[in-house]
Each structure stands twice: as C-alpha cells, then as structure tokens.
Homo-oligomer: 349 residues x 2
C-alpha cells in the first residue's frame, strides 16, 4: 500500500489501538476518543465549544449540501476516504457558486478499525480542510458492531456563502453555450477499480480527488453570470451529468469524442476493461456551461490554474434533440449517450 | 411487530421491491429512487431545486449540528430510525437555543433493504419534520453491499436560528441553580433493549422519541437568560450529561434520587436487568439548568406542555465537590455518580 498518505503528525500515545463499541457509548471512552484523536487533529475555536452544535453568523445567501462517503477500499491510490469526504462536499458547495465555510463531520466507525488507520484518515481530513479553507465545526461519532459496517463511513455536510455574482441555474442555458470540463476524466473510478481488482498498470492511476472551490470562485469573480451552470461529475460520470443538464434545460448537448480529455493510462485501462470513461466517476473536476463569448477566455483561465491545467471544451448546447446528449465519435458517427443505466462501480465514493 | 408505524400514504407502485447496488450508482436507478420515493415523501420547494445543494437566507446567529443514527433494530416500540433521526438533530439545535429550520438527509442503505420498510421510514421522517416544523432541503443516498451495513444508517445535519433571548452556556451556571428534567427518564434505552432481547413486560415500554423544540423556544420566550444550560441526555443518559455540565462549569451537582422521574414499567425493567436508569438513553427529554427564582414557574411551564407533563426538578448546583455529581439515595446515603465508563447498550441511537 505505497499510496498511503504519509503521516505528518505522529499518532498520539493511547491505551487502545482499535475502535471498540464503547467508543460509541457517549460516555468516558467517547470523550477520550474525541479529546485524544478527533479534536487533536481538527481543533479550531468553534469546534472546541463542544456544545451540541456550533454557533456562527453567515450573512447573505447560503448554500447547504450533504454527502455520505462509503468508498471501498478506504485507502486508494491518490487519497483516502477522509480527503474525499471533505473535497466532495466542498465541491458540491462550489457547484452552487458558494464559498464553502463550515463542515460537519459524521463518523460511523466499525468496531475493530485500527486507530492508526483512523488517525491517517483524520490527518487527510485536516489537510483537505486546510487546502479548501474550511473548518469542521461540529461532529458526531457512532460505532457499529464488527460486520455491520465497513471500517468507516463518513458524512460531511457543508454551509457556504453564495458568490454575489453567481447566477447558476439550468434556466439560463441557451443554444450556443459551450461545455467545459476542468480536467481529464475518469481518473477516480479507475484508481478505485485498479486497487479493488488488484490490477497493476505500467504507470499507476491516481484518483483526481481535490477541492476546486478556489478555482470556481475566481472563475465567478472573473465571469459572473456568464458561468451558467456548474456540476461535478462524480457517480455516474460525465455522461450522467450531461444528461441531467440536458433534461433540466430541455436543450440538446453535442459532444465531440476527440475533445474529451482522458489521460493515456486511464484511457488504456478503460479500454482493457471495456469501460466507457464517460461513465466513470471523477472527484476533482467540474463541468461548466458558459456563454460562447467567454468560452475561450474561461478555458484558458481554468487551464492556468494548477487544479485545472487539463481543462478542455468538450461540447456545445444545441436546440436540436432537446433532452438528449449526442456524441460524435472520432470516426465521424453519432450516437446518443444515456444516463448510466445500472451500476458500474459500486461504492466509488 | 405491532409497534410498527401505521402507513398513512400507500407505497407507490414500483418495479423493484428491494434496494439494489444500482440505486446508489448516481444513474437512472438512483434518479428513479429519488423521484418515486424520497422526493415523493419529502417534497418541498427547496428540495425540489434538485441542485447539488439547497439555497436559502438565514439572518442572525445560526446553530449547526449533525448526528448519525445507527440504531438497532430500526423499528422499535414507539418509533423507528426515521423519526429518531429528525428528532435527534432537531433537539440538538433546540439545546443550542435555536429554532431548527433546515435539515439535510444522508442515507446509507444496505443492499436488500425492503422498499416497504424504507417507505415506512421515509413516512416517519416526513411526519417528524411536520411536527417539528423543519424541512429536509438537501440529501444524499448511498448503497453498500449486503453485509457491509445494517439495513439503513441515517445522518441528519441541521441549521437553526438562535433565539434572540438565548444565553445558553455553562459559564452562566451558579450555585443554587436548579436542575430540571422535562420528563421521565430511561424510556428509549429500555424500549430498544426490550425488543432487542425479546423481553415482554406487562405494559410495553415505548421509546420517548419526540421533538422538544417548540417547548424549548416557548421556554426561552418566557424566561430568556434565566435558562442557563440545556442538554438532551441521549447516549450515556442523565448521569453522563450531569457529569458533562458539572465538569464544564466546575461546580458540583447534587441530585435527589427520589425526585428522578421514572415510569413504573421502565423502573421495573431496569431493576430486573440490573441497569441504572441514570445511564439509560433518552430521545425526547431535556435537562435544563435554571435560575432558582424561576425554577418552580419554569417547571410548571414545562409540565403544562404535552411534551413535558412528566417534568421534575431533580437537583441543584452546589459550590462543594466541583466537577462531581453526587446523588442522595432514597434511604439517605450519598454516592458519586460518574460518567458512563464503558458501553451499556451499543447502537441505541
């Protein structure tokens, strides 16, 4: 497991090395777990109030989003469930055009989880929060008996303040608008699949998990209402998100297959396994529907950001075939791309 | 299972009768689950925006709280995990002196969960939200493979607006302040235990799960800063909460055992099983530390509310033995009551 997060803070000295049911009792053991590990890793003044909830003021329009994470395995090439849980909710808020501010952290631990792994996950949460500039301000920890969970499930719920220039909404989308993607697709899903199936590729495939909120906010600063729609193509992949957009705005979307950015190793792995990268999950990119007059400029803007250097324009909104996504293949044929019909890779996030 | 919630809305017609992994894919099956069941049960204008998050304005000081629910079994005498999940977070916000406004709903479903049971849980969520006057405005649904969860785990995270007269904080607590409890203790834990262990008592023991936010807000309207501290004694029971309060304010608490309200059936069951009701979980009562001059009036105020008719004054804050809770038994002896040391009843909420 050479992809494991390298510890920066050493594990505190404790008199227990696995999670037990008593850590979920609400009594002394729970308090010890909180004090020695969770507060130790995540401390900030609001969290330390240690009340039943956190207090703060947030004027203006707010965005509120929740996500539970059940990814298997919890450690994967490029990250672990901890940073995934922070980045996922941070990105959902960014897709609302909001600056993420505060997160809650709901942990469901399985009895027997090694403390060393739990600490590593907490460290990843801490670093992801620092990178996205958000704080965990309230939390909850439950423990389920061995065999009734799977190491750790994490819920994060976030609150953000909506950017004053944001006008994100499918009702603003018109024919001619351009569809941008902020980076190469399908990396997260293929990273999970490769470790789950024990596949070894020449160059290892890393999850793309990252927060994109700072980039999105700068984009809104620069282009305001010309950014018409934002969505992160996680479960169900790019194909599912394009279908959602197309159905919401009742316009068609035309995609050029040759424009889809796919890293070579990821594309090769998809081909080998017979998977279409359009349906594979992503955790660190977003799709933006933008006005045609700013499309090129916005694309360059995204590409100039270290978190968007692989961005591409992949398609266009059209008046024909409303509610349908049509892809033009490299050899010239066209086909309709549907939403993911069944399940491709369960527990991808 | 005669304690099961009686359905008010009939189960919608569907072409699936159990949850499958595909319902967590993010694709067509997820959309169908959302449209046919979750939105159907919980619809409201904010939820129906169907974006990555919900938008709203909430001026003033906010409270933010999260709780995950892993109770086993999910149906128990007096309720199910659905209403427990709503009432739990609603009550946590109320304990912050806040009017709960919006909740998120994070579902982790186990493959194989019967749709009929899921619908019953959604109906309980709907009714609990209506009773507490809160809305589910955003959500997330994940599915884990059979054997990696336990039917359903629920996270609710809530936002509320803090009452302008609320001054809840352990720093306000003084010697002489009175400790009130809003109803009989230990009902929830004993209800769960009775069904888990297959115990039959003469009169069935029902969980006390209920939301207390309306009562708490009226109490703050009437008494403002004279209500010094609020906490709901869930996991760890009344003993653990009294210890938390005592340690936070570095005062002692003296409790009269004869004043502890315990329903006869609950008390009998505790005695039979050798459990101290002080450590058994509650899900529909709260502890309030109040100024002595309003204690009697506030107690009557709580008793006059249908959700507080079994309220009692159980003790007093003292300057002696700071950080310790001492109980005076019915026969006159005194003993120190500690925080719950290990785990008494795992997965109680």
């Amino acid at each position: 497991m050479d992809f494991r997060f390298s510890l920066i803070c050493p594990l505190p000295k404790l008199d227990f090395d696995i999670i037990t049911l008593g850590h979920g009792s609400g009594g002394i053991l729970t308090h010890r777990l909180l004090d020695k590990l969770i507060f130790e890793a995540l401390r900030n003044p609001i969290l330390e109030q240690e009340h039943d909830g956190a207090y703060f003021n947030l004027p203006g329009e707010l965005a509120f989003s929740t996500d539970s994470f059940v990814v298997h395995p919890v450690f994967f090439p490029g990250g672990n469930i901890g940073e995934l849980a922070v980045n996922g909710t941070v990105n959902d808020l960014a897709m609302c055009g909001a600056t993420p501010r505060y997160l809650s952290l709901g942990l469901i631990l399985e009895e027997g989880l090694p403390i060393a792994e739990f600490w590593e996950i907490l460290q990843a949460i801490k670093h992801a929060c620092a990178d996205a500039n958000v704080q965990i301000v309230t939390g909850d920890t439950k423990v389920v008996d061995s065999g009734k969970g799977d190491k750790i499930f994490i819920n994060t719920t976030g609150i953000g303040t909506v950017h004053p220039k944001a006008r994100i909404g499918s009702e603003h989308i018109c024919a001619g608008d351009q569809v941008l993607v902020s980076g190469p697709i399908a990396a997260h899903g293929m990273a999970i699949l490769s470790v789950r199936e024990g596949l070894a590729f020449e160059s290892p495939i890393l999850s793309d998990t990252q927060s994109v909120n700072h980039l999105v906010i700068r984009l809104l600063d620069a282009y305001g209402e010309k950014i018409k729609f934002l969505r992160d193509p996680t479960r169900g992949g790019v194909a599912t998100v394009l279908n959602e957009i197309s159905q919401k705005c009742q316009k068609g979307i035309r995609v050029q297959e040759r424009d889809l950015p796919v890293e070579e190793a990821v594309g090769g792995a998809c081909e080998l396994l017979g998977l279409d990268p359009l349906y594979v999950a992503n955790e660190g990119i977003f799709i933006a529907v933008v006005s045609p007059e700013i499309a090129e400029s916005a694309l360059n803007f995204i590409r100039n950001d270290p978190k968007g250097h692989g961005a591409a324009c992949i398609g266009e909104i059209v008046d024909t075939h409303p509610g349908q996504v049509v892809i033009k293949s490299q050899i010239g044929g066209s086909r309709v791309v549907h939403m993911l019909p069944g399940e491709q890779l369960p527990r991808i996030c």
